[in-house]
């Protein structure tokens, strides 16, 4: 059988994309998931904070996932678990996916369109090159989270965490609740990388010290972690300052030092990748440069809230449904560009005919901007502005622009730039 849409990954992105594609008229949708159940990373994110935008409620990860899984079941969308995708072949109107599982063996799946939703993986100790020995007890925060919340084992009893992103903060609380002692969270930047509320309810609540502008310069212990050397870093160069070494005794080091979109299959299939996002170059309905191949979720850009993953994935689902009906316009009107202060912009291009009322551009700022505006320039003119009390690299910026503002231009380049707010004129 030839499917209409096959979705590579059954996490929040894949689930939302599947539901959207089916609702938009794609009859034969299939989800391929490598784990033993649907839900992806949400299954181990047992804390709450998900769903405020999508459902108006605060849910835990599994609760959020279950909402979508229920819809998948109701819509009778088939899925294969414990199934790994090894390859994606483009044969023009037909795509062939090479999948593998114990029951069916190594088998091909034919489909008209594909949505890539493989999520991302964690940056490792090896990748950041922490000097020292290579003992047991060094885990990425996500791996420790999985052991703890699914298999039910403690990674260790005395922990130090490197990286104050949300995963690191959440694990600081989680380990503490389960009886471990978290000695410190070290963050190389002068500000925390996660949501401020997480610093409060994960660190402050438990008196866990947050060492800003600190890094780990040595891992001690040959067989099992015995401690770490922590050092202060220069705020500009981020290099350790000699003489500031401090030894912290511990048996576990957790790393929360970045997420990397998992684009092995994408690269192998030679789909164009944006070096700034490490994800595929995509359009307004998340189409990649390979017709019929779409992508959404963390595989495109690392999101901070799952609600926006779901939002983005609806676009991809709709895009795939339009594509198989032959209704997807391919004429690109606009390219987007990251200007001063912006690290990347998604989508990287826009075909206006596929946009209904408005289009949301997702981006991140390069550093903290306390008193600034993000402006959208189209062919030299400001067409829209976005304000916020503060712009932080940790928080994705969603910049919604009305279609009507873009219609006037046949084509061009939309550049997003961070600019200082003008001085407020005081009326005397």
């Amino acid at each position: 059988m030839i499917y209409n849409v096959v979705i590579l990954g059954g996490g929040p992105a894949g689930l939302a994309a599947a539901v959207a594609a089916k609702k938009e008229g794609a009859e034969n949708v299939l989800i391929l998931e490598r784990d033993r159940e649907l839900g992806g990373i949400l299954n181990q994110c047992i804390h709450n904070g998900f769903g405020l935008h999508t459902f108006g409620e605060q849910l835990t990860g599994p609760e959020y996932a279950e909402r979508y899984i229920n819809e998948v079941v109701q819509l009778k969308i088939p899925y294969e678990l414990n199934t790994m995708v090894l390859d994606l072949e483009d044969h023009g109107e037909l795509k062939i996916i090479h999948a593998i599982n114990e029951e069916k063996g190594y088998f091909p799946i034919e489909t008209e369109s594909v949505i890539l939703t493989m999520g991302c993986r964690e940056r490792t100790a090896g990748a950041i090159g922490i000097p020292g020995y290579r003992p047991a007890g060094v885990y990425t925060a996500g791996a420790a989270q999985r052991f703890m919340n699914m298999e039910g084992y403690m990674a260790g009893k005395e922990a130090v965490i490197l990286g104050s992103g949300d995963i690191g903060l959440i694990m600081a609380r989680r380990m503490t609740l389960e009886g471990a002692h978290v000695q410190a969270v070290c963050e190389i930047m002068p500000h925390s990388n996660g949501l401020v509320r997480n610093v409060v309810q994960c660190l402050d609540d438990y008196d866990i010290p947050l060492k800003l502008s600190h890094t780990i310069s040595f891992i001690h212990g040959k067989d099992r972690v015995e401690g770490v050397t922590v050092m202060k870093v220069d705020k500009e160069t981020l290099k350790p300052i000699p003489g500031t070494e401090e030894f912290i005794k511990c048996d576990t080091l957790l790393l929360s030092v970045g997420l990397i979109p998992e684009n092995e299959i994408t690269r192998k299939a030679e789909v164009a990748i944006d070096g700034k996002t490490n994800g595929p170059v995509v359009g307004e309905l998340r189409q990649t440069n390979m017709p019929g191949v779409f992508a959404c979720g963390n595989v495109v850009q690392v999101h901070d809230l799952v609600d926006f993953v779901s939002e983005e994935s609806v676009l991809a689902g709709e895009g795939a449904a339009k594509y198989i009906k032959g209704e997807l316009d391919t004429e690109i009107n606009f390219d987007t560009k990251n200007g001063d202060g912006i690290s990347y912009v998604v989508p990287q291009h826009v075909a206006l005919k596929n946009v209904e009322d408005s289009i949301t551009f997702y981006m991140r700022v390069r550093k903290v901007f306390p008193n600034h505006t993000v402006k959208a320039y189209l062919n030299g003119e400001v067409i829209a502005k976005k304000n916020a009390p503060k712009f932080l690299p940790a928080e994705m910026v969603n910049f919604k622009i009305k279609r009507s503002l873009l219609e006037k231009y046949p084509n061009g380049e939309i550049t997003f730039i961070v600019e200082e707010k003008p001085e407020k004129k005081i009326k005397l």
């Binding site: 593998i100 190594y106 000097p131 084992y153 067989d223």
Partner: protein, 493 residues
């Protein structure tokens, strides 16, 4: 009472054990680590040198030349990945070209085949990513890459299948010379053997000093390495050496047999066992690697590690030539296989053949033993399935035979449960997470076990019938992975 006890199950000890298993002898192979090949063997450059480097009057020169030629057959029999890529010793100046010429002359003396000097145009055509300032090189077509930890594991597997006994976690703490036999006092008890072969790597001098007056000393020099993501795999085609100095071969940029890129090692005198990396040495290696390959992207690094070489010097610290020490020691019946540094890996097939045929067997015969051939000796190992390398049809076939090959455990390297189960259940099989990693690469990819490690732990726990937190990363009890269950309530194991 064993006929022969071999102390140290690295490349050297495991090859010696295998060679000895060609004879009807009771051989004990022991190691203080909880796995074979856990020290120098798993932290080196993984290169099979062409053999032009060491002077021909040294054992290093003779055995590396012969060893190189023997590698194909040895790896084919043992089923170990081996590839001839060629190597280039690169010169950036006329002065360095003089060193290149010296190496070339030495290579000719050693009889190194496929050796020639190449100049700018050919050099840059061969290696487009090489520093444009490189003006010439010594090309050695026979240089190759091998998987050193796999070769030690598979040599041990073959040795055990041919009758050798392996004992791990067995650290030799003292040796008693009973004049006609030896008693090895170890952490797992006493073992008696008529003869001893000391292949204890960087600790070989400490081992020998338990029975005899020191006549050599081993100095540890640590080398730090980086491994890059396979993504940049073809940035170089040959092993790229800088011009050598008296410190050694220098920081190389090399492909690995598995398709990664490796840079290193530096050379830093350290205490034995000090195998940590340090920031300054890591930076040093990076800076020097750029000299030959300026476009290396350090953001693509996936791991760094360190290992120590052991250089032999005379006991009174005067310099020796730094050659292998392969001989019956002044203590009768005690054979030293020491000072086994580069080109130790390359020399292994030849040097171990030599020590068995020209040192150990004659020694046994001299002491009145009749050494009989083991008619059942089988040099060939059962093939390992490298699932990722199978064709589509072969993949489909093997999963039909064994569905476990349909479960991908290591996403980055495409390693299946079938392969993991295979390496657990062979002779000298894996019993730890690191052991699985060494034997089938699960965990060696870019995510460094982030995805597969929990699954590997589950598989080991199931196969060894123990709790997940009883599965070790490496050394038993010390390298524990998980520390108890998360709930205080009593539950079944």
């Amino acid at each position: 009472m064993f006929d022969i006890a071999i102390i140290g199950a690295g490349v050297a000890g495991s090859f010696i054990a295998r060679e000895l298993s060609r004879y009807q002898l009771d051989v004990l192979l022991l190691d203080g680590e909880s796995d074979v090949g856990n020290q120098i063997t798993m932290a080196n450059s993984a290169i099979v040198h062409a053999g032009y480097d060491a002077p021909s009057y040294k054992k290093k020169g003779q055995f590396s030349s012969t060893g190189n030629v023997m590698y194909e057959k040895t790896c084919k029999d043992l089923d170990v990945p081996f590839k001839r890529t060629g190597s280039l010793v690169v010169a950036h100046s006329a002065h360095e070209m003089m060193t290149i010429h010296d190496l070339y002359k030495n290579g000719l003396k050693n009889g190194t085949p496929n050796l020639r000097i190449i100049y700018e145009d050919e050099l840059h055509e061969m290696e487009p990513n090489l520093n444009p300032e490189a003006c010439g090189a010594l090309y050695a077509g026979d240089a190759g890459l091998v998987s050193p930890f796999e070769i030690a594991v598979k040599a041990t597997e073959n040795a055990i299948n041919n009758g050798v006994t392996l004992k791990l976690d067995t650290l030799v703490q003292d040796i008693k010379n009973n004049d006609g036999s030896f008693t090895l006092k170890t952490t797992t008890g006493d073992y008696e053997a008529k003869f001893v072969v000391n292949a204890a790597g960087v600790y070989a001098d400490d081992i020998y000093n338990m029975v005899g007056d020191p006549y050599f000393k081993l100095l540890a020099r640590r080398g730090v390495y980086f491994i890059f993501d396979k993504e940049i795999g073809n940035i170089v085609n040959n092993v790229i050496f800088p011009c050598p100095t008296k410190n050694g071969k220098g920081i190389l940029v090399s492909p690995t047999v598995h398709g990664n890129i490796l840079i290193g090692p530096d050379a830093m005198p350290v205490k034995k066992g000090e195998i940590c990396t340090t920031q300054d040495r890591l930076d040093y290696v990076k800076a020097n690697a750029l000299k030959n390959v300026p476009s290396l992207d350090f953001r693509k690094i996936i791991r760094s590690y360190a290992g120590t070489r052991n250089t032999a010097v005379k006991a009174d610290f005067t310099t020796t030539d730094g050659d292998f020490i392969i001989e019956e020691s002044p203590v009768k019946g005690f054979v030293n296989f020491a000072g086994y540094e580069s080109p130790g890996l390359t020399s292994a097939p030849a040097s171990t053949y030599y020590v068995v045929e020209e040192v150990i067997v004659p020694m046994l015969e001299r002491e009145g033993y009749t050494v009989k051939v083991n008619e059942n000796f089988n040099p060939v190992n059962k093939r390992h399935v490298y699932f990722d390398q199978l064709s589509e049809e072969e993949k489909m076939e093997i999963i039909k035979e064994n569905p476990k090959y349909g479960k991908v455990i290591c996403r980055c390297e495409t390693i299946t449960e079938g392969e993991i189960l295979d390496v657990i259940h062979r002779s000298a099989g894996a019993t730890t997470v690191k052991g699985v990693k060494k034997r089938c690469r699960a965990g060696m990819g870019r995510c460094q076990g982030g995805f597969c490690q929990p699954r590997v732990v589950e598989i080991l726990a199931r196969e060894m019938d123990c709790r997940l937190d009883e599965v070790m990363y490496d050394k038993k009890t010390d390298a524990y992975m998980l520390n108890g269950k998360t709930k205080s309530v009593e539950e079944d194991a």
